[in-house]
Symmetry: C2
Subunit: 317 residues, 2 copies
């Protein structure tokens, strides 16, 4: 029994039970893989793979159980490398952050400079995508962590923790009829008033869009959504050119920078949302990952995160 056999079994499964593929992706000979697996099966005294003659078709029942254990073993073996890297090259390494445009554009800039200063040798990479994609990236270890609002919390295999709460903001031009609500009575704006105008907002896959739809649907109102985009900058641009009113994440509206526009808080209409950070449960996280998460949300202490990772926990907001 050896690690190589584990690798072969795992890769064969991942390559849809094609030994040739598995061998190639592990840079070794196909007969070698075949032999190793057969020897492994002999040693365990069971068949791992279902064979039709010579063709491998899938996993046997014992194979399924074995595969699960192997998966866990290899996860830990990978952790071994990470652990030693952590100590061997304390503050070096790479960090891939999966996030939505909103986070990349409005949240991360608040912490990345300080992070760079603290860990100048860590290679950073931002990978943008929609929440579902992000979850998959973390699960497949293509990203070390992901930040987004939807989906993440519900994905098995991920540990997620709340980073911050946010509400939507309605963005309008100063000359828009709704602008008179800007000062005191902003909170009095109603769903009907909003629905009276053309709306520019997020694409369906993103940042709380589904809750917007749900709210309108519940009231039986059909909003006039004239444009969907994946980022607030685009939305604000179209609001600015008079296409309609915008609904964006609160974090994406900055009164100072967005001088030509007015923002009306809309939490009372579309509810409150929680942006979450997700990491793959069970993986060993480099020190700087913990530091970054704590920079993002001081309440997320190393202990909390560690606890969540080890018990594949979803920490509630």
């Amino acid at each position: 029994m050896n690690l190589q056999q584990f690798r072969f079994v795992r890769e064969t499964i991942r390559r849809n039970f094609n030994l040739t593929e598995a061998a190639r992706s592990l840079y070794t000979s196909q007969p070698g893989v075949s032999k190793a697996i057969i020897e492994f099966e002999d040693e365990l005294g069971i068949k791992i793979f279902e064979r039709h003659g010579k063709r491998i078709k899938g996993l046997t029942k014992p194979g399924q159980a074995v595969a699960q254990v192997i998966e866990r073993i290899m996860l830990e073996v990978d952790n071994l490398k990470r652990v030693s890297d952590e100590f061997a090259r304390e503050d070096e390494g790479s960090l891939t952050i999966g996030c939505t445009h909103t986070q990349a554009r409005y949240l991360l800039p608040r912490v990345i400079p300080a992070f760079r200063e603290r860990f100048p040798k860590v290679r950073l990479q931002l990978a943008e995508g929609d929440p579902v994609t992000l979850a998959r990236m973390v699960l497949h270890e293509q990203a070390d962590m992901a930040i987004a609002t939807e989906t993440l919390a519900r994905t098995p295999g991920l540990a997620t923790l709340p980073v911050y709460e946010w509400e939507h903001t309605i963005v309008i031009r100063p000359d828009h009829p709704l602008a008179e609500l800007r000062s005191s009575a902003a909170r009095a704006i109603s769903l009907e008033q909003v629905a009276a105008y053309p709306i520019v907002t997020y694409d369906r896959a993103f940042t709380g869009r589904s809750s917007i739809d749900a709210v309108f649907a519940k009231k039986g109102i059909q909003p006039d959504i004239v444009l969907e985009a994946i980022d607030a900058d685009v939305i604000k641009t179209y609001v600015d050119v008079g296409l309609g009113i915008g609904i964006i994440a609160g974090i994406a509206f900055d009164p100072r920078r967005d001088k030509g526009l007015i923002g009306l808080p809309a939490g009372h209409l579309f509810g409150s949302h929680t942006a979450r950070v997700a990491v793959k449960s069970g993986v060993f996280l480099r020190d700087y990952v913990y530091v970054l998460i704590e920079m993002l949300a001081p309440h997320l202490t190393r202990d909390m995160v560690q606890e969540a990772v080890e018990n594949s926990g979803v920490v509630e907001a």
Copy 2:
């Protein structure tokens, strides 16, 4: 990087950082172990062991992290063997049950015959001991499971589930003064009445003995304990020869078989206790272990137990 290296590291730690010992217990040469570990350290790029010159003293900080991961890997590797055995020889294998005398003598006889019938090829072994020893046995995988009342629930690394609740019974001879309480007013017996007579009961390490002591201490009563034993049979014998009154686990008193004695329920004095079954968390359990546990306590379904084992849970009574 290979499994052998993991084994060497783990064994060296277990043998108090004595390579020679580790090598011997793994039936290999000491220089081989030394070399393998050094190569492993080189590959990881860290030192696992703290060395004073050539003497190995302990784990370095990275070593501690690595050791944890290795421990988990080896646990899973052992599981691999168990998993395959489960399928290779479906209903064969061995089962070592750690338990106190009380369980071995009064609880297990109720289920073992049925178990034998269902799994005639499983080699059974009862290992008696006090709860602390039992916990350690399960932790060290010298026993597959343990049944006892105390300690088990509080041991980290064990998953424990409640099997049954029980109360103490006071055992007396028919000619004893307390015998008049036998019929209706049994529950009226007081601590003071009990303390008025010499007592024969369990050894300090066992079955709810600590709660007996605690109850007396709380009331400031000094009981006259004339004899301590680890099992109820011995206690009953000495009660029978007139040494005093006995306090034993309720399960150990059977009115039909213990004809010469009278049992008075004493739950109102010494409280209610929960006997628990413990298994090591994280291990793969053979099918027949689940079956036995369910025989012991029908409410402990396979799913419940599995859940507890996987999440190292302590399921409350």
